[in-house]
């Protein structure tokens, strides 16, 4: 069963359109025309509605088929049962098999950007989208700059580094609004020391300290994709959420997009930990003017108030070196670039020896010179 794909085409020449984050418009690479996202949304509104209706029918049919299915029939190979889906490219007609979470991609045969509108049906429809601001070229440039000023990076890694893949991905994120409410208690001391004659008199005062209240948070992000490493997504924060737009597929051509496969309840646990830790630190920092502060009781809870589902822009770059994959991520809005790099043991020890020698020389002169 092939599902429907949408291929945004240029109203002037029918060439494929691609969203250009640097100018914030949909661009035709063939005739050079550019269009505002609202224009294309309007043009494709009917088609989108049709696609959503078809998706609803598809879901109903799937449920019906599942109810009617005999046990022996389920033993047959079925791409959708394996978490894959079959599509037809609207440009070249090729049959394409994608991951069930794929919502936007490009055809490997004709290269045209395609969107799967049915993936955004009902509960799966994001509330917001944060458009790309950083171009592919800027992402590539950032990778090269990222290698600079890293004295422990193996020289051959930077020299012979072949980029395996670069893709702009709209990653599904849950954004949680909430309020951390709690109370904390501490035992604190103040110490005064005075010299009186040949005596040192030390006075220690003990205090029972309590703090209670709340800390409000807005849009703590937690990615909702199992494919994306959590620590990598955390490391490209923060995003500027003042630039969030109401969701539209018109921002997606030219990029890949996934729908969430980690639900909001599961993702909230990460946001809860972060919020509660931060609130505790804020409470801790309000206890000042003491020589020592020892926490004696902690009771903090992040209450969830509102949840939004958004697609956030991320450039994913991957390279291979010595048989190992290195993945980098770049915040597609702010340009923040992160990724773990290999460390050259030889360079590490050379730097170690150099620094040790540089420190040892003046010390040796001082002690033995």
């Amino acid at each position: 069963m092939a599902s429907k794909l949408t291929n945004y085409q240029c109203p002037s020449c029918t060439g494929p359109l691609r969203y250009d984050g640097t100018i914030g418009r949909l661009q035709c690479d063939y005739c050079g025309s550019s269009f505002a996202t609202e224009e294309i949304e309007h043009l494709y509104q009917e088609q989108l509605q049709h696609a959503e209706q078809a998706a609803a029918e598809e879901v109903a049919a799937a449920i019906h088929a599942a109810e009617q299915a005999q046990p022996e029939e389920s033993a047959d190979w079925d791409g959708e049962n394996e978490g894959m889906r079959l599509y037809n490219c609207p440009s070249c007609g090729a049959e394409l098999v994608f991951d069930s979470t794929t919502a936007a991609t490009s055809c490997p045969y004709c290269g045209n950007p395609t969107v799967v509108p049915s993936q955004f049906h009902g509960m799966l429809r994001p509330d917001y989208i944060l458009p790309f601001h950083i171009s592919r070229e800027e992402a590539l440039k950032s990778l090269k700059e990222y290698y600079r000023g890293k004295p422990l990076l193996p020289k051959r890694f930077a020299d012979a580094n072949h980029l395996e893949e670069i893709k702009g991905v709209y990653v599904p994120f849950w954004l949680f609004d909430g309020r951390a409410v709690g109370d904390m208690s501490y035992r604190a001391t103040r110490v005064h020391t005075v010299q009186h004659g040949n005596e040192m008199i030390t006075t220690t005062e003990y205090y029972d300290v309590r703090r209670a209240g709340s800390v409000a948070f807005t849009r703590i992000p937690a990615d909702g994709s199992r494919k994306m490493p959590d620590e990598l997504m955390d490391s490209i924060e923060p995003f500027d959420f003042s630039d969030l737009k109401p969701f539209s597929t018109a921002y997606m051509p030219g990029y890949m997009a996934d729908i969430y496969d980690v639900d909001d309840r599961e993702s909230f646990e990460r946001a809860r930990t972060r919020g509660e830790n931060t609130a505790e630190r804020i409470f801790d920092s309000s206890v000042s003017g003491y020589a020592t502060v020892t926490p004696t009781g902690r009771n903090m809870k992040l209450l969830r108030e509102r949840t939004a589902y958004a697609l956030l822009p991320v450039w994913m770059l991957s390279t291979k070196w010595n048989g190992k994959n290195f993945i980098f991520a770049m915040n597609g809005q702010t340009g923040r670039f992160v990724g773990d790099l290999p460390v050259s043991s030889g360079r590490y020890f050379a730097w170690f020896a150099g620094i040790a020698a540089a420190v040892a020389l003046p010390l040796a002169w001082f002690f033995f010179g």
Partner: protein
């Protein structure tokens, strides 16, 4: 009454010591050297009575030989309790003895005195005069003490005094050849070589490790976030309870201890040489 008895005991002890110090020559050897000092007539004065006659004679002979050879008196005085003579430290008592009995040889009264108080096992090793200060540097004084203290700790008085006299001979010999025992003057730190090497190795290794680990951490910046400071709503912090209740107070008193050695002025500082106090004495005190 108590004070009177204490005064009487102190007075009698002092009289006894003076009698011993000044009557020994008459009952001991006839080899007096009238040119060596104006007061105390013997190099070894055993008021505590811890030496046999024979051992005393041997030590006296050796001390005199070394003193005469180098022109610097090498003295030993033992007492039962230095507090019977002076209210102060054992060092003060040793210095008072040196001054009051006119110890030392030559016009500068150069000399070294090893003073033992048996009651609480106190000792003081002092030197006086420019010639003695040249030979008995702080470092040399410590080295000399190491030589006799192990004997004294085993109540081997004769062995300890013998080591002291031999040590003095070595130090005076080195000083006479223009090479007194001291820390190298070029050692700016005052720290011995072993410790210097250890500090150098540790500081350089730890610094290099810290810098390299910092560089390595920059290569691995990807880590899960555990806080959400960026998402705190402006004005969203509401600390409705801020209560600091005083519970109780404790007071501790500590007596500030002062070191005898820090009471004088320094001529050598921490760069080798000899530390001389305002009374013109160098040396140190301790327990054995």
């Amino acid at each position: 009454m108590k004070r009177f008895l204490h005064f009487l005991a102190s007075f009698l002890s002092a009289v006894l010591l003076v009698c011993i110090l000044f009557t020994m020559p008459a009952s001991a050897e006839e080899t007096q050297d009238m040119s060596r000092s104006q007061g105390l007539q013997y190099y070894v004065s055993d008021a505590a009575g811890i030496l046999s006659r024979e051992k005393w004679e041997n030590l006296e002979h050796e001390a005199e030989r070394v003193s005469q050879q180098y022109g610097c008196g090498v003295y030993i005085v033992t007492v039962q309790d230095y507090r019977d003579y002076i209210s102060g430290s054992v060092r003060n008592c040793a210095e008072a003895f040196y001054s009051q009995y006119g110890l030392g040889l030559g016009e500068n009264r150069d000399g070294s005195l090893l003073f033992l108080s048996m009651a609480d096992r106190d000792y003081s090793l002092i030197a006086y005069g420019p010639g003695a200060h040249y030979a008995f540097t702080d470092y040399a004084s410590g080295w000399l003490a190491e030589g006799f203290l192990d004997n004294f700790r085993q109540n081997d008085w004769y062995g300890g005094f013998s080591d002291y006299i031999k040590g003095c001979e070595q130090l005076l010999s080195r000083a006479a050849s223009g090479n007194p025992l001291d820390q190298p003057q070029s050692n700016r730190s005052g720290v011995d070589h072993g410790m210097g090497a250890l500090i150098t190795a540790l500081v350089s290794s730890l610094t290099a490790l810290g810098v390299c680990q910092g560089m390595k951490r920059k290569m691995k910046p990807v880590r899960q976030k555990t806080s959400a400071e960026d998402y705190v709503v402006r004005g969203g912090i509401d600390l409705r309870l801020k209560r600091d209740v005083f519970l109780n107070r404790t007071v501790t008193r500590t007596v500030i201890r002062t070191d005898d050695r820090n009471t004088g002025s320094h001529s050598g500082g921490h760069f080798g040489g000899t530390t001389v106090n305002s009374g013109g004495f160098s040396g140190h005190s301790g327990k054995f």
